[in-house]
Symmetry: C2
Subunit: 138 residues, 2 copies
């Protein structure tokens, strides 16, 4: 059994965040010492690692809740879990696409000023003001 600080160290999740997850129902209510401090065991550690990993992958708290619930009621959990992961994957791909478009425009914009002395007006500001200077929609 170890303290919340120890759990925090091992999982690299901050102490207030652990308490937050408990409040949100992602973690079960921890056991307490006689002095009301939380104590955890290996199961708690694993659960929190799972949550942290899923958060790192960009799953929302809500999605993680669903995944945990599936884990606890394992009938047909595999298909449902795959579905959550797949739908999340689609989100990620959309995000990547948008960011790439954005990268292109920012690259173009931020090149405008420092080369050939287009110094009359600032190209960055002009580009932002006039959407027609963009290559594409966004």
């Amino acid at each position: 059994m170890f303290s919340i600080g120890e759990l925090s160290k091992r999982t690299k999740v901050k102490v207030p965040t652990i308490r937050y997850y408990e409040e949100m129902g992602l973690l079960p209510e921890a056991e307490r010492t006689s002095g009301n401090q939380r104590r955890y065991n290996k199961a708690g550690l694993e659960r929190l690692s799972f949550i942290r990993h899923a958060r790192d992958l960009g799953f929302s708290i809500e999605a993680i809740s669903s995944l945990i619930e599936l884990h606890e009621h394992p009938d047909r959990s595999c298909e449902a879990a795959t579905e959550i992961a797949t739908s999340h994957l689609e989100d990620v791909r959309v995000k990547i696409k948008r960011l790439k478009t954005l990268e292109k425009e920012l690259t173009r914009i931020s090149k405008g000023c420092d080369g050939e002395g287009v110094s009359e007006d600032c190209y960055v500001l002009a580009s932002l003001a006039d959407h027609n200077l963009c290559d594409r929609d966004h």
Copy 2:
């Protein structure tokens, strides 16, 4: 001169968001009718278009504030504006990189279940629980 609703239509920025931008100082305080309703002109429209475009590109409210200030004090604005754009570009590139790693892992995870009948345990949940199954760090 036109109303906030009209401005909203033309810029595709929602009415409460326009008021929010005014409160945050991105937009100057609008002129008012005798009945206290906001009225805008072409300048207001252009300013809001600038803001919307910059937000679409993922600039924070704070960064946009800086860009606007630069615009209003144009001495050396070009270098400073380019710097803001460039630093933002770096952020974007980091995000793209992270998302791509993530895409790989999610692709791998979501393929786990529906093929060859690895049905004993759910591969999605196992992958999330055990970081060692990942290809790389994140």
